[in-house]
């Protein structure tokens, strides 16, 4: 099975490990991530204004490339996922945006949201299946108590992203179970880490992350996992190394026994 893959800017730089572990794990699980050509940055945040077109075009290009290849488009970074999935929804359901974006793009065939956008976790859940994943685990992380940190970008708005129940998600917990560890459910796992606010309002972001980390620790988490480089950055400021924050793909690679192959 081959998927089109949109890594996004951070995964080429600060979060190379998030990307590398995902690719190695994909190989171990028998699917391939085919990086689309000449992708451009998604912009990091979804342009909310209903009149914003230009800022959505980089996503449309990526989506259209996947469409032309007839593949689903897989993303890994939470922000890219959020932006691309929402733009795709616009292209599918908002006539005005679709028309105007297509006017800019001048494609042979207009793009109308045909591509299916999947987060890597969704591939694991819906395509591979957590049961199958469990079978492929060679190095179960038994006994590890792990708190899943979702943040906001993967979950909300729930209706458009359709990723999981936005108020009580389970996909990462199911993932944690599949790799043999024990999930720790804590109520702040879908609260915002502060996101881009941490550039200028460091204190504000820290306050938010403190609540998340305290809650997770309080419920017994020994480690936090995330899919988002920005979440990890913000959370790390709060934990100050007390409990580790790692990418879910790292644990996946470890469980599948391919972590050592990966060179960062």
């Amino acid at each position: 099975m081959k998927y089109s893959y949109y890594p996004g800017c951070t995964l080429k730089n600060k979060a190379k490990d998030l990307d590398a572990y995902a690719r190695a794990s994909a190989r171990a699980l028998g699917f391939e991530l085919e990086e689309i050509e000449d992708w451009q940055c998604c912009g990091g945040v979804y342009p909310l204004g209903s009149d914003e077109i230009a800022t959505k075009l980089s996503s449309v290009r990526a989506l259209n490339e996947a469409k032309e290849k007839g593949q689903d488009l897989v993303t890994l970074c939470s922000a890219c996922h959020h932006v691309i999935k929402r733009v795709n929804d616009d292209m599918k359901n908002v006539e005005d945006i679709r028309t105007r974006a297509n006017n800019y793009m001048e494609l042979d065939e207009p793009y109308a949201g045909e591509t299916n956008v999947l987060h890597f976790l969704e591939v694991l859940r819906d395509k591979v299946g957590f049961d199958k994943l469990k079978e492929k685990v060679v190095n179960p992380l038994t006994g590890k108590k792990i708190g899943a940190y979702y943040g906001c970008l993967l979950l909300r708005p729930g209706k458009i992203l359709g990723f999981d129940n936005p108020e009580n998600p389970t996909i990462i917990e199911d993932f944690i179970r599949a790799i043999g560890a024990t999930p720790v459910v804590y109520p702040y796992r879908n609260e915002c880490c502060g996101g881009y606010i941490s550039l200028k309002e460091k204190e504000m972001a820290k306050n938010m992350c403190d609540k998340i980390v305290d809650s997770a620790e309080g419920f017994g988490a020994e480690m936090l996992i995330t899919a988002c480089p920005l979440c990890m950055y913000n959370l790390n400021k709060s934990t100050e190394g007390k409990i580790p924050v790692v990418y879910f793909t790292e644990l996946l690679a470890e469980a599948l026994g391919v972590k050592e192959e990966v060179e960062i």
């Binding site: 129940n165 108020e167 009580n168 459910v185 109520p187 702040y188 809650s215 309080g218 419920f219 017994g220």
Partner: protein, 662 residues
Amino acid sequence: MQRIGVFVCHCGSNIAATVDVKKVVEMAAKEPGVVHAEDYQYMCSEAGQAKIAAAIKEKNLTGIVVCSCSPRMHENTFRGAAERAGLNPYMVEIANIREHCSWIHKDVEEATKKAVILARAAIAKVNLNTPLKPGESRVTKRALVIGGGIAGIQTALDIADAGYEVDIVEKTPSIGGRMSQLDKTFPTLDCSACILTPKMVEAAAHEKITIYTYSEVEKVSGFVGDFTVDIKKKARYVDANKCTGCGVCQEKCPSKKSLSEFNRGLNTRSAIYTPFAQAIPNVPVIDTEACIKMKTGKCGICSKVCQAGAVDYEQKDEIITEKYGAIVVATGFDTIKLDNYDEYAYNQSKDVITSLELERVMNAAGPTKGHLERLSDGKHPKEMVFIQCVGSRCADNRGKSYCSKICCMYTAKHAMLIRDKYPDVNVTVFYIDVRTPGKNFDEFYRRAVEDYGVNYIKGQVGKVIPQPDGKLLVQGVDLLDNKQILKEADMVVLATAIEPNPDVRKIATMLTASIDTNNFLTESHAKLRPVESPTAGVFLSGVCQGPKDIPETVAQAGAAAVKAIGLLAKDKLLTNPCTAKADELLCNGCSTCANVCPYGAISYEEKEVNDHGIRETRRIAVVNSALCQGCGACTVACPSGAMDLQGFSNRQIIAEVDAICR
């Protein structure tokens, strides 16, 4: 050629403000067949009807057109007026120039033009009308009440007291409904069971009432006055005639892990069970999913301990077919599922409960024996938070668009009862609005605040955050203070929206009673016929029609009973004469019409006909006008046009089409 009179109503200014009624009169007078046209302030008034009668007599009218409000409003009024003046009531047509014209258009010229066209269509139709005579059908003097809650019980008692037989069909093992689950009732704080149980007993003892519990309506056919209903009596596996209700079987049953439906799943019950101590009938049922004997064939303890020998594992479902003249729907409500509201942590914490669950917690026969305690650890709470409007007043597809109506009052009741019994417990209520219309209702709510010190905060809760120590952090807002609030609570109670019992959809379909977008049954007229369904002979009682509290439900139950009694008191009903009729010279006898008739009203006869001198025996469709309800499906199925519908004939409808497109 008909002699037609046209009567244009002003409806005060309702029509006259937007439609130039004089112009309509002037234009209508020019139409073929029209020999009289006039306008009047209120045609439906006695004076207006007198004008119609006078014109019929003076001008020898053979048909009339009233340009007025919807025929759904006053068709019967004008038909009555015509009949009293000696004109066949089916020679009356209505042009709806109010709902379909003056009320939706602003421009006088445009509205007038349209009113003229609507009048023309009605005139064109009445030109082709023929006098029709209603048939008669009998009335079965027995009523069916679907649902055995307080609404159903009250309706049944009222009908039975008037001397008619009534059957109650209740899906669960006992009558009593939601009210039997309540602890106390507002605004008087009587014990719910104390006022309900006597009514349950009375219904059970009433010689005119038959109660089918653990039973469901399977099939309904027929029509007003003559419904035929199949009732499925599910197997109880206990012989009601032998059981003494001693309860030993329930004590000895080794399978005790099923969640108690009556206690909203807060505790467990045995596999053989009566839902609650005062159940009527006091005859247990066996839950086949939980019963060890049913699942494995081994066990049989209940049978062994039953001295009356009432347990019968071989019992089968039974279908009872009965005829009824009237049907009352009283299927009630349930609380909505909270899966869409996980921000309130209902699925994550045992200490977040719905108000109905709190009723069980507060009730002496409930899972905590009436002690207020946390369901997670049994500890007595110190801080309780109530959240209002959970799933009500939502426009986002997660919840219900309507106000559930009863929550403000029961929350005040809960708050008051808790503060009264446990003065050490602090109670906070997050509300959007407090809605207390009703006799002594606002006073009741104010008492909760003023006499019992309940802390009402205007604002919603965003999230309930379970803490590692088991407490619940409630993150809400105080809009008057403009502050976000983080409140630590031991228990959170959600005023969960109510919705019609999910089974009502199936029942409505069987009854062909219409249902609104929220699954509430539609009443025939929102103001003037609130307890009648648009389907003749079907009446509505209680929350199945819309959210209601107990006094309103009882009042409506009585009203539905009166309407049913009014129907049952008649010996015969006049049937709708707008039925299908086959032209025997055109009929091919092909059976296509019978294939689409939902009432089985069409049969075939070998009949000798004289077709322009050719005498032959033909297979001809014959419509039983007592069974035909006049839908017209057959008329379109018929390729030769032999089948036509009286009152809505092909030529009549085509005349309307022509008039509109002229």
